[in-house]
Structures are given as C-alpha cells and as structure tokens.
Symmetry: C4
Subunit: 320 residues, 4 copies
Amino acid sequence: MNIFNKINTNAASSSNTGFGTNASSYGGRFINKDGTANIKKRGMPFFSRISWYHTLLNLPRWKFISLLFIFFASINFVFAGLYYLIGIEYLDGIDPSGSAWLKFSKAYFFSAQTFTTVGYGHISPSGILTSALAAGEALTGLLSFAIATGLFYGRFSRPKAFIKFSDNALIAPYKGMTAFMVRMAPYKNTNLIDANSRMTLGMSIEENGAMVNKFYTLKLEMYEINSLSLSWTLVHPIDEDSPFYGFNDADFATIEGEVILYLKAFDDLFSSSVAVSTSYTFEEIFYGGKFEMMYTESEDNTRTILHLDKINSFKKVALN
Amino acid sequence: MNIFNKINTNAASSSNTGFGTNASSYGGRFINKDGTANIKKRGMPFFSRISWYHTLLNLPRWKFISLLFIFFASINFVFAGLYYLIGIEYLDGIDPSGSAWLKFSKAYFFSAQTFTTVGYGHISPSGILTSALAAGEALTGLLSFAIATGLFYGRFSRPKAFIKFSDNALIAPYKGMTAFMVRMAPYKNTNLIDANSRMTLGMSIEENGAMVNKFYTLKLEMYEINSLSLSWTLVHPIDEDSPFYGFNDADFATIEGEVILYLKAFDDLFSSSVAVSTSYTFEEIFYGGKFEMMYTESEDNTRTILHLDKINSFKKVALN
Amino acid sequence: MNIFNKINTNAASSSNTGFGTNASSYGGRFINKDGTANIKKRGMPFFSRISWYHTLLNLPRWKFISLLFIFFASINFVFAGLYYLIGIEYLDGIDPSGSAWLKFSKAYFFSAQTFTTVGYGHISPSGILTSALAAGEALTGLLSFAIATGLFYGRFSRPKAFIKFSDNALIAPYKGMTAFMVRMAPYKNTNLIDANSRMTLGMSIEENGAMVNKFYTLKLEMYEINSLSLSWTLVHPIDEDSPFYGFNDADFATIEGEVILYLKAFDDLFSSSVAVSTSYTFEEIFYGGKFEMMYTESEDNTRTILHLDKINSFKKVALN
Amino acid sequence: MNIFNKINTNAASSSNTGFGTNASSYGGRFINKDGTANIKKRGMPFFSRISWYHTLLNLPRWKFISLLFIFFASINFVFAGLYYLIGIEYLDGIDPSGSAWLKFSKAYFFSAQTFTTVGYGHISPSGILTSALAAGEALTGLLSFAIATGLFYGRFSRPKAFIKFSDNALIAPYKGMTAFMVRMAPYKNTNLIDANSRMTLGMSIEENGAMVNKFYTLKLEMYEINSLSLSWTLVHPIDEDSPFYGFNDADFATIEGEVILYLKAFDDLFSSSVAVSTSYTFEEIFYGGKFEMMYTESEDNTRTILHLDKINSFKKVALN
C-alpha cells in the first residue's frame, strides 16, 4: 500500500519539529508516552552525559530515600574502617579488650554520631590523626546534609504540570464532519492559567524512493484557554486542510504514525511556566468514539465536581 | 423573564475561558473570591489528588508551625517506644530501677536529643540494636530538618501578588455613558511592573431550550500599565459592543452572572511573574457608584500617600 | 510662565504609566533614584503592609548579620530565664552553690549549646520540665536555622540587575539636532542578554484650570539590544514628535519634570529576567554635554576594557 | 585589500547588538568561545565588581569543595588561637600540663567540634569568655553551613543549557548554492523545548577613513524548533541578501570576522528558560565541508541513537 497517496496534499507540512527527517536512521516512536524523547545518547562518558541533579530529581521517592540511607550506611563503613586502621585506642570510651567485631561496631557508631553531629561523647577521639579525621567527618556530614537539603527542596519545589491525558485519542463526530480529539485534566490542587497546546503529526513515508519523516501541524479548534481547572478536550477538526482528511478506520490501523502533543501553562502557586508533553501512536487512536462528560454539579448546587476517573470514558459512535 | 434577550447581540462571545459550556452540570460560581476554581475533584485517591507541597505552602503560619511541633512530639514518641522495647538497659545513664513511666520519659528525651542531634551524652546508646536505631534516628532527624528547611524557604520565597481588590464592582458614570469598574491596590512593600489584566463575563443562559454557559470578554479601556504602585481602577466602558449594553439596575439584581478578573505582573524583587485572580457575581456589583480617590499628597509635599483603607470607599451617584 | 504652552502638541501622551493623573494629590517625584515608587502606604496595620521576606532581603549585609546575632543572644536570654525559673538544680553539671549571676550565666550557655545543638553535655537537663524545654529549644533552634538558611539563600540567589546609571542625563548634539541621553553599564561579572528599555516623561501641568500629571513616552533610537556587556547609551532624539521639542536651557531649569527609565534583561546565570528602574528629574539633566567613550582596547590587544569610573564623564558642548 | 568592498551591500546591517561600533577601542573577539563577553571591567574596587555568588557558582567542583575545606581549616585556626589566648585552663578536659603544641591542637579540635556542633563534650568550655566564644562559634558554624547549603543548592539547581556546539562552522553546499552551517546537540538527560537561535556577524571594517565595527544579522533557514532532543544544524543560506555573498575560500582566510550565536530554550525539568551563546571567528570556519549524520536507529529498531562524538565529523566537499 502506498501510504503517501493517502495523505492529503493540501496539508501543510511542518519542518521545525526538531526531529530528524531521515527515517531510516530512526527507530521507534518520536516521543514516549511520558513526554521524554525516545533517544539514547552515546559517544560521551556516562557521567558527562548525565545531569545527576536531573537524575536524582526524577528518582521515585522510595528510591531516593533508600539511596540516602545506603549512602549513610556506606560512608560510615568507610570512616569506621579508617578509625579502626588508625587504632581503636585513639577512641576514648571503647574498651580495647573487646572482640574485633565489637570494637569495629563501636567505631562504626562513633562514626555515625560524628557524621550526624550528634556527638554524644561517651566515645570521643584522641590523638591528632583520629581527631582530625573526626573533624573532617563532621564537616563531610554537614556538607552532605547541605546537599540533601538542596535535593529535597529541589524535588518538591520543582514546578510540574499535574496533568492526566486520556489513554486514547478519538476520531469523533464534530459539526457534521469528524475531528481528532484528546482529553486532559489537571488532577491536583494546583491552579493552571494561560494554557496553550500544540499538536504535531509525524509519519515515516516514502518519498522519491527513500523513507523520510514527514511532520504536519494539526490545527486546533482552540489552542489556548485562560484557565485549566476543568477537563480540556483538544479538538483537531478533520477538514480539507487536515492531513487526516479522507482517512478511514482501516488507514489508522495499517499506517504507522504518531501525534505529538505539547502543553504549556502558568502555575499560579509556583509562579512559573510548566510544560508537559505526550504522544499517541495510531494504535492508540480509537476510530468512532465520543468522550463522555466528566464533570457534574455537586449535590448542594454550589460547586462543580470533576470526575477524574472518567477521563478515559467514551461511548462508541458510528462515523459515516 | 428571558435573560437571553437582555444580552447585547453585538457582544462577541468568548470560548477559550476553560470553563465548560454545559450549564446543567455546573454548580455555584466559576471562580471563588480568592481566585481558586470552584471545582471539587473526585475519582482518584486523596493522596494522588493532593500536592502536599502546595498544601503545606498554603497552610496558615500557625498551623504550619503547630504541625512541625506535633510531628516532632509524635516521632519522638515512636522512637522512645522502640528504645523502650529494645530495653532501657541499653541506654547508659538511665537508672534501670526507676518507674516505667520515668524510664520511658527519659527514653523520650534521649530520642529528642538524638533527633535534634543535640546529643548531650548524659544518656548514650549501647548495644548494636540501640546504637543502630539511634544512628537511624539522627539521620531521620537531619533529613526531616532538610525537608523543613525546604518548606520554610518555599513558604516565604514563593512569589505572590499582594493585591487587594475592592469588595464591590461599580457601574459608574464614565464619559457621558456608564462603565463597569473594579479597583485594586498593592498593599505590601513590593514593586510590581508591567501589570496586565483581563476580564471575562460568565452567565448561564437558555439557548435552544438548554441551559448553557456563555462567556464574553469585557474590553478594558486600559489593560496594561507600566508600574502598579498606586491604586488601579479597571474600566470596562459599557458601549454598544458591551454585553452589559442596555442593562439597568433591576437586570443586575435579577440576572445571575459573574465577572472574572485575571491580573499578571512582574515582581521586581522576586524577579518573577506573579498572577492573581478574583471574581464578582452580579450581587457584588453596585449600580450607580463612583470610587473616591484613595491617594493624597503627604504633608511635607515630598511623597504620595496611598490610603489602603479607602479601597472600598465610593459615593452613590444617579445614573440616567 | 505657562509650562503647558512649551510642550510640543505633536507629542503623543501616554496613559498607561500606572501613576495617577491628579497632580494635586501628588507629592514629590514619581520614582526614587533607586527605582522604588515614591509612595507611602497607610490604612493597614504595619505588619500587613510589610512583606518581612522582602524587607529582610533588602537589609544591608551587616544589618542582617547583626540581626541574626541579636536574635540569637535574645532568645538564649529568654530560654535561660525559663531554665532559671524552673530551677537550676534540674541542670546537672551546674554547681548550685554558686552566685545567682554565675548560675544564670551557666544556664545561658547551656541554652546556647542547646539552641545550636552543640550539646557538649557537661551540663545536661534532668526532670520532665527542663528536659521538655530543652527538647523544645533544640527544635526551635533547628527551625530557626532552617529559616536562616532560607534567608541566606534568598539573599544571595535573588536575581538582580547590577547596572550603574550615569548620575546625569544629557541634552547632547545628535545627527544635526539634539537628543536626550542617559548612559548605563553593567558593573559585575554577570551576563545580561536581550535587554530592553522604556522611557517615560512625567510632568505636572495646568489643564483647564486644574493641575494634572501628564505622561509622554520618549521614543528611543534603539530600545533593545542583544547583549548588555558594554556600556549602553539610551538616546531619545528630540525631533518634531518629542515632547522636549523646542525646550531650551532655561526651560529645563524652570520646568518641573521627571524622566522615568525601565530596563529589563535576561540574566544568563540566574536564567531569570531581571528588571531595574531609575528616574531623572529635570534638575539632573545637563543641557549641552556629550558622554566620553568609556571603553578602550587592552594593552595586549586581546580584550576590551570597560572603565566603570568613566560612566559620568562627559564634556560640555555648545548647542545652537 | 579593502575588505569593505567585499561585503555585500544588499546585506542589512544590525545596530542593536550591544557591542560598540568604535573598532579602535576594541581588542580581540567580541564573545569568547564559552559565550562570555570578552570584556574586562576596571575603575571600581574588585569586590564591587564581583558578584561572589556568581563566582562561587561558576567555580569548578573540586575548587569549590577545596575552598570549603580550606575555609573550615582556617576558621578553626582562628578560633583555636582565641581559645588559646583566653587560656587553655578554661577548656575543661584538656590536660594543662601538656606541651603548648599539644594544648593548641586540642583547642583546635575543640573548635572543630564546636563549629560543626558535634560537641562530644570530652572537652567543654568554662568561664564566661570561653563559653561565650564557643556559643558564638557554634552560631557562626551553623550560619556558615546555612550559606554552604545555599551555595550547594544554587550550584546544582542552576538552570543550564547542556549544549555542545561543533568546533567548526562550515561553508557547505545547500540547495544549489552554499550556506553557513553550525551544529549543536544537547548532551545530557534534559529535555529542551521551544528552542530559538539568533546569529550575528561582526567585522571591523574601514569606513570613511576610520575603523568601525559593523554587525549583520545572519538570517537562518529555521531559527525555532519545538523540541531540541536530537542534533540541530543551524543553516544560514548565503543568498543575495547575505553579507557573505560572493566570499570565497581566500576571503574567509584573510578577513577578520566573527559569527556570534545565541540560543534560548525552555528546560522542561527546571521549568525555566535557559540561554547559551558561543562564537566562531573566521579562522574557525571551514570552507567546503558537510556535516555527517550523527544519529542512527538502535539495533532493536525501537529507539534513535544520538552519537555525541560525531558532532564535529564532516566530510570535505568541493564548492564551485
């Protein structure tokens, strides 16, 4: 089947997507579901390629906390080893007649008490070397907590757009024709204003014998709203200028393509712009559906209820 | 009474408000007085719907401080219980012959001294288990203070627009016709520049037998100012293009509607954009009033005084 | 003298300055030299009118540090008093037979050791009340340092435009006519890009028998530059559309007016927009001057030297 | 050779670069490779010209850590000296019969234990003066760690554009003519969207007998892309409106000029705009080259691989 012939020649292609056009160098989707680019970087050492701050900010909470505890346990192991090597007799309060294991464990807890600056003092350093090491450990401990403080703050103060997207995009009836629709809703107690969206279609097609990536801007019926507090359905009318013009159920099933979606808004509380993106492959497009309303009036008629569990609920409709 | 007939057909309706158009699914006002959306979210677990950082940042100061003290008291209770369970004999310095209550209270204060890393040392841990628990508690304490540091900083460094709005909107005489007016003033020692405003009217009206929400942009005589250091009166002239054109005193009393106001400005000190919003229902509109000047020259003629207590003061005027 | 007649009627007045037009309610200049509005707020309690975070961020460094030390000294005084009241016998390690003054001083230093969580332990609390107070003090101490950490960070991470303005504005010869000129230069090792400026003239003039504030936008020959790393001279050509058109030396000496200047730029290091403003009253305008070049080539021809001490240097020139 | 005659008279010059036009006052390049301005500031005291926060944020990591350790070692030296001067007999726990060196070293470690608030307590202060000094030191220590916490956070939370630029710019064949090309690629696990670029050419040329700096905007075939996750080649087509029109290999070798490049993008994770710049002197322009593709499909066909080590790889091509 020649996919290219299916694409509406009226549709204006878009060149400033930032994706490459050489389809044969491309693998998989352009954008992952979570909005990250589906790209692996190579050719530089791992640690130069990684922003450890970004990485630590993106770690799940339990992994991050575990990492801190593991780091704490390990660094005390190192310091305890050093105290032990210098000589346990320089740690006043540790009985030198105990077993090696007991003495090490006491050095270990002395290290923990120094690193956290608790410093009970029932064990205390003596001798230049042990005292200097303890001073250095206390400094290291405080600087480590300075870093941990920064990471904690960075993790929870990081502006994020708490937006849920519908799992599927729909081809739905719309004003006597059809439209491509995606639904989103904010799911946390934040306040987003001045939201704007952008949709791009990407497809690998044959052109002059070579596979190239072609991109099309999908015009939205409304791409900007003043406040994003209810659900928002993005609507791309499939009119004569749409690249989808003339596509039927079978086309969406057989052609490979991907719709990429960007959203930017201003978060009232963070006083910062936030951005989020996602994408829908053609397999994630449902042909012939209509989103069901996801908000209702509250029982006492004083508020509107947004039902987040209905974000994916749609009913099937026949498209002519 | 058919409200719809009262609305000026010249007025251009606005569709990108982000509010839904299905009036029968809507309850109460669109935007609360404090600018938050009048929407309740459902259908997701409470903790997924809540950004605890946003929540802790919005807590009143005394609640936030109380929460910290309660957390401190509780977590020490937990740790004291653990020390007690392991055995009070592993806490050197506690007389094992005391009453259970006395021993627990000493374990409690040992816990507090460990959690805060004071570590006087008149009580100190011995034995692997108690020592390890104390090390873990010191770490937990420091991480808790790391989080508290972040929260404190987040709370007071959060950019906010310290703007007071007049309680009422006025229908006031204006250049031979009337205008819808709202007044605002900055009330703190901050410096706002490049302020811009936007006003939207929302009403539930009958259209083709169904109740729908209709929105209209209210054009402002001046929507942008260079610096917001004095009071600013937003003026929407009720001319032939205004949806209010032809409304009289009785109309504002009987029709249900709401004027939504957005303000964005750049805060000089935070070097950040700040946004604030509020709304006026028709009940909060006073028909026939005129704001009284709220600034005067200082007695020594060298400064201008802004009287914040006069933000609501207006005098009644007859409108023909 | 009728000032109004001197003002060029071709000059377009500007209404969106945010300053009031009622000149009789106005005292002194519009904007202070340091860019803050010359406005005093009244009619609300002092603490509601003050953002203490803004205030502490704007304190000179030595005042801020002194405040921290005074706070530390005072709060220890309060806690020492409480320990003393509960009874010095509950502080193990203090000789109860000493003088009242000695005992109080020891309670004071115990308090300091608790507040800072040093907790040497040669003095330690006993008894429920004193132990609980010490635990509370340690918590208070840590939270105070959490706040101090936030304030320190807030103070030095606050994006600022380090810009020096020339003390005087000049009326200088320019392309066969004259121009109003102001010079600025960045004076720190920061990198400002995308700088843009705006100039407004404000004057109190008589109109229809009443004194009103009139504002005019002063068009700049160039209001935007890509990078602000050298000095930048803002040039308002006094052409037929300028409100200054026809002004002579004597007019600037007798008429009261003020030129307000806003600058916004993007700071590369803070990754943030920064804004700064200042103003020049007519007394600060020098009629007939020409700024002297303030940059030269370095001796080894590899760099350009910006001479910050020359920002005010100009030579007098005769204007016809 | 008269360079000026070589420059295309159709090319529109650009005046808002922020660089000076007086070429004889200029030394070396306009912008350094790392994007900083090639300007040295003079005429103000060193400490007024330096933003120490900016400076500490730009220090290499090992220098910053070393600085902290050196500061810690030094300040303890100062405090130890003070304790020693007041009298070692006021430090309980230090044997006054030891050597001066031994006593000083113990005072030193007592200082370190106080500064870090470890406070083991085997040495403790007595006497008003020593106790007060120790309290002051503990406060100083905590405030120092407050500052260190801020600096650490400032260092790693600072939004940065992790962009690698190709070492050389190329004059490459392009659509039947030639184009000036530069390549860039993001090299870390960050997500940049809405990237836009700007190119300016700067040259010192003779005009009316004087050397002046002339600047030209280089029009880009595409100056804005939606997402910067792959490599991006900036293309300035050398058409009839380009200042490079008619330049040949020899011209680039003999004329002195510099192409300055600005990039701004929005970082998804920092939720902040980031900016970066660099420049290419004519010596860094390679005449007759073509960048080789730097991305390929992954072996399992599910991802695209970006080869960062290929950013500079190009093949030579003959230009007619």
